[in-house]
């Protein structure tokens, strides 16, 4: 029984390999996500492509966040408050598909990841709860 927002949120940390986009993450990643969203405009994409570092320096984001963008380290970006729908503007700018970008977060090659999906996807067995190991 969920009594308040604390109890509601507490369970989110029990999901293996998953960051739920809570207020805490939304606050940490606010400017990072706003940066990503700016890439919806073609002129911004062109400026970003021309000099990624210079474009990133226009935003009030941390050096760690900047480096993670430069590295296209999406797991790191999630840890630093990025949200995947915002970050999608970055990998779309790179011309990557969702499958290509998403696979980089799983530790699998694109081919292996694609093969897993073609075989029906990742099974939820053992992936539901860290605590309950189910």
């Amino acid at each position: 029984m969920v009594r308040d927002i604390h109890q509601y949120l507490a369970e989110f940390d029990d999901i293996p390999g998953t960051r739920v986009y809570t207020a805490a993450r939304a606050r940490q990643g606010y400017q990072l996500n706003q940066f990503a969203m700016s890439l919806m405009k073609d002129e911004n994409r062109q400026r970003f492509r021309a000099d990624e570092k210079a474009y990133l320096d226009e935003w009030a984001i941390t050096d760690e966040q900047k480096q993670a963008v430069l590295d296209r380290d999406y797991n790191k970006l999630l840890d630093l408050g990025g949200n995947i729908y915002f970050l999608a503007k970055v990998f779309s700018t790179d011309g990557l598909s969702f499958v290509q970008a998403v696979s980089t977060m799983t530790g699998m090659s694109v081919e292996d990841y694609q093969a897993m999906m073609n075989a029906g996807g990742r099974s939820p067995a053992g992936q539901r709860s860290i605590r309950d190991k189910n």
Binding site: T18, D42, V99
Partner: protein, 301 residues
């Protein structure tokens, strides 16, 4: 009198938009996905709905982090497709139905839903991909659309119960619109998928099909599925399924399925699609107290 004739649920997978825009519907990988919509394309040609209340979520396109509305209803005249990072989809602008949209928006607020009214916005794949799947290649959309954007990105999204109740309130609103209109409600997003982190790629065929089952008939079990269950069982983006409950709530007491389709894989996502018809479309009366009537007052003791 306007009436809700059918409800449609379907995923809104971006890669199907690409495939569609590049004429790849017939390729081996995509064919099974598109084939599942053939029945529905024929059905819509016969049904010719006038308006679709299209429930979807914005994927960081119209709304950035500056403001995050839980429920936003589009009351504008027309909506342009958004540029999501690779140019806007080459589909026609989406015509709104401002008369019905404003009527619904006002009715919902009287019914104590705290709507955000939107007059101008762009719409992303969440809204345009389902339209492409159902109507195919068109020079202009043969239907008007009322976008209903739900926050399922920043936590918490609305509860399943709140979504279902919103659907019921939409049904009451449509019923009180004087013009004779054939209105459908579409719920989009899902089914199981996770686009982030080491667990990405999760698909839960069994849970998804149980979800589809529970949209049919008179069970209201899905009202009570908590967010954590979607997250654990269907992946972080599986939470989008709460939007289908708005569609289901709008169909009233009981439904039957006219068409159903489930396919894995499409990109990272389980594709689900269902066409529902109300059997008994009745919904509870409005609990609103604005009218200050006795029955309403009794409700709060």
């Amino acid at each position: 009198m306007a009436r809700i004739t059918h409800g449609i649920g379907c995923s809104h997978i971006p890669v199907l938009g690409f495939a569609f825009d590049q004429g790849k519907e017939g390729e081996d990988y995509f064919k099974p996905a598109f084939d599942g919509f053939e029945w529905t394309r024929d059905f819509l040609k016969q049904e010719k709905p006038d308006v679709i209340v299209l429930v979807y979520n914005d994927h960081a396109s119209a709304f950035d982090m500056k403001f995050i509305p839980t429920f936003a209803i589009g009351c504008g005249e027309t909506y342009q497709p958004a540029d999501e990072g690779f140019g806007a989809r080459p589909v026609p602008p989406v015509p709104g139905h401002a008369d019905l949209a404003w009527h619904i928006a006002q009715s919902l607020i009287l019914d104590e839903f705290d709507m955000t009214i939107i007059n101008e916005m762009e719409v992303d794949h969440g809204l345009t991909v389902p339209l492409s799947m159902m109507y195919g290649h068109v020079d202009e959309w043969p239907v008007k659309v009322i976008p209903l954007a739900v926050n399922v990105v920043t936590y918490p999204p609305p509860s399943g119960n709140r979504c279902w109740a919103l659907g019921e309130a939409i049904a009451r609103a449509v019923e009180s619109f004087p013009e004779d209109l054939n209105v459908q409600v579409w719920g989009t997003g899902g089914l199981s998928h996770q686009l982030q982190g080491p667990r990405a790629g999760l698909i839960n065929r069994e849970w998804d099909n149980g979800f589809l089952n529970r949209l049919i008939g008179d069970t209201q079990e899905l009202r009570h599925v908590p967010h954590i269950e979607y997250l654990r069982e269907t992946g972080s983006e599986g939470i989008e399924m709460v939007m289908w409950l708005i569609m289901r709530g709008a169909l009233g007491k009981s439904t039957r399925a006219l068409h159903r389709h489930y396919h894995v894989p499409v990109s990272n996502t389980a594709l689900g699609h269902i066409v529902l018809e109300p059997v008994d479309g009745s919904v509870p009366p409005s609990p609103t107290l604005e009218g200050n009537n006795e029955a309403a007052q009794a409700l709060i003791g």
